[in-house]
Amino acid sequence: MWEILDQKELARLKRRLLERYGIAEVPHVIVRSGKRKYRAATKEAIEIMKAWLVGVYIMKETPFGLMLSIEGTQLLGPLAKKNVFEISQEMIDGWMRGEDIEIGARNELERGLVIIRCGNLYLGSGLYDGQRIKNLLPKARKVVG
């Protein structure tokens, strides 16, 4: 099930997105689903009564902060100004198989959750610990073999 966020909660969520990823504006309606997950939908979609689920899951609360899902990075990633890591075309297959990325110390990245992209293709989130980016793709979305 899901619920509409009140103005205070929404403002807090937007502030956190701005602080972590530099996302200044969220162009979709955001609703909470369960305790820790958030979904993006259209204004018209949340007006439907008896809705079991609306829109798509875009992010969730984790001990490390707000983690964007694959769709979350695809919807909000283009608006992000920081903590976005660009990978090469050759690295996409490994990332999608669930491999971590060794990158060493990087000034442009803060430790914690980062968005992964290759050009215009957004590929979900990873956790940067100062040396490598741990792969956080869900099992169902990884390429097998």
Partner: protein, 351 residues
């Protein structure tokens, strides 16, 4: 041929099983084989149900053999590109051989591509959906526009829902309904993967949808009704095993109930597509006739490049409204796809 290789090829559907294979399986298996399983293993063009053969010969006439040959052949793979996630150019960069589907600009036939197309980076990221080209026709006929309020009454697994969401540029809303929770789980994971933010999922009995949402609520309605699925046989043989006239008549009753609810929920001046993936007239023309009796008007469809037969205006001595000839019967052998029946209707303003 070595028996292990032969068994493997049978399992993969590359060769047909004969009675020796069946005896061997029966003698080596731990328990008895179910009747359905046995039927599936020994199903051939010749041993189809007599009732089915008689009926489909009457429906198809001289094309019957072509139709049956096609049912027993492997269908090509088609994909639908998600233009909302990435421009189509990624497809050109891949080393796949593809051919565009004539009636949907984001539909492609994969002539040469990866063996398991579902286990590719692009599929996992929702850049495309594996969907038969004939199944792309109902949304094309309905033509949902950005900002509209659309009802997809029996939405799972979500191929047409997500196609319509993309045609609407993720604006407005699609109420994607299904009665079964197991099917809704598949629907929601497809909606998620394709990123369709304008979809709202409901779990309601479609026959009573108008009682929940009210009369005249939707700009457009798609009813891709549950059916006997003969058009799906190229992909899955079980409809051919399950098929019976009794089943067809039972489904026809359900389809009329769903169609009535869908039609009531449609706004006056709104459009509705009724489609099935089967060819029995009781599940198609008879349901459209029922909608005409409720006041619906059948509209002409312009689907470029699609080879289809017209809807029947007479079956088994029963006469239908002549406008039903505007419906499309998309037989598998006509376009080398799966099979579909599609009808576009309008609810007149006066209703």
């Amino acid at each position: 041929m070595h028996s292990i290789i032969r068994k493997g090829l049978i399992k993969l559907g590359k060769i047909q099983m004969n009675s020796n294979d069946l005896n061997e399986i029966q003698s080596s298996s731990q328990g008895p084989i179910s009747l359905n399983h046995k039927r599936k293993l020994i199903l051939t063009k010749e041993n189809l149900k007599e009732e089915f053969k008689k009926r489909y010969k009457a429906l198809l006439g001289l094309d019957y053999d072509k139709f049956i040959d096609c049912l027993f052949s492997k269908p090509p793979t088609f994909i639908r590109i998600n233009p909302m996630k990435a421009p189509v150019k990624w497809l050109r960069q891949k080393n796949w051989e593809v051919e565009r589907v004539a009636w949907y600009k984001y539909g492609y036939k994969v002539i040469k591509g990866p063996e398991n197309i579902g286990n590719t980076v692009e599929h996992r990221l929702g850049l495309f959906y594996v969907q038969d080209a004939a199944s792309m026709v109902p949304p094309v006929a309905l033509d949902p526009r950005p900002g509209e309020r659309v009802l997809d009454l029996t939405a799972a697994p979500g191929s047409k829902t997500t196609q319509m969401a993309e045609m609407m540029r993720w604006k407005g809303v699609i109420v994607a309904n299904d009665i079964s929770m197991a099917r809704i789980n598949v629907l929601s994971s497809n909606v998620q993967r394709m990123g369709s933010i304008n979809v709202t999922i409901t779990q309601l009995d479609g026959r009573f949808i108008h009682k929940i949402f009210g009369k005249d609520r939707f700009d457009k309605v798609l009813l891709d009704a549950p059916c006997s699925s003969v058009g799906e046989v190229r992909r899955n043989w079980s409809p051919l095993i399950r098929w019976s006239l009794r089943l067809v008549l039972r489904l026809s009753k359900l389809q009329k109930e769903l169609a009535t609810a869908a039609f009531i929920a449609l706004k006056p001046g709104g459009k509705m597509v009724y489609s099935t993936c089967t060819f029995d007239p009781e599940e198609n023309e008879e349901v459209v006739q029922h909608l005409i009796e409720l006041g619906a008007e059948v509209l002409e469809m312009k689907i470029p490049g699609l080879n289809a037969r017209s809807g029947l205006i007479e079956w088994n001595g029963k006469k239908f409204d002549p406008s039903i000839s505007k419906c499309l019967r998309i037989y598998p052998h006509c376009n080398d796809t799966l099979g579909f029946f599609v009808c576009l209707l309008e609810k007149p303003e006066r209703l």
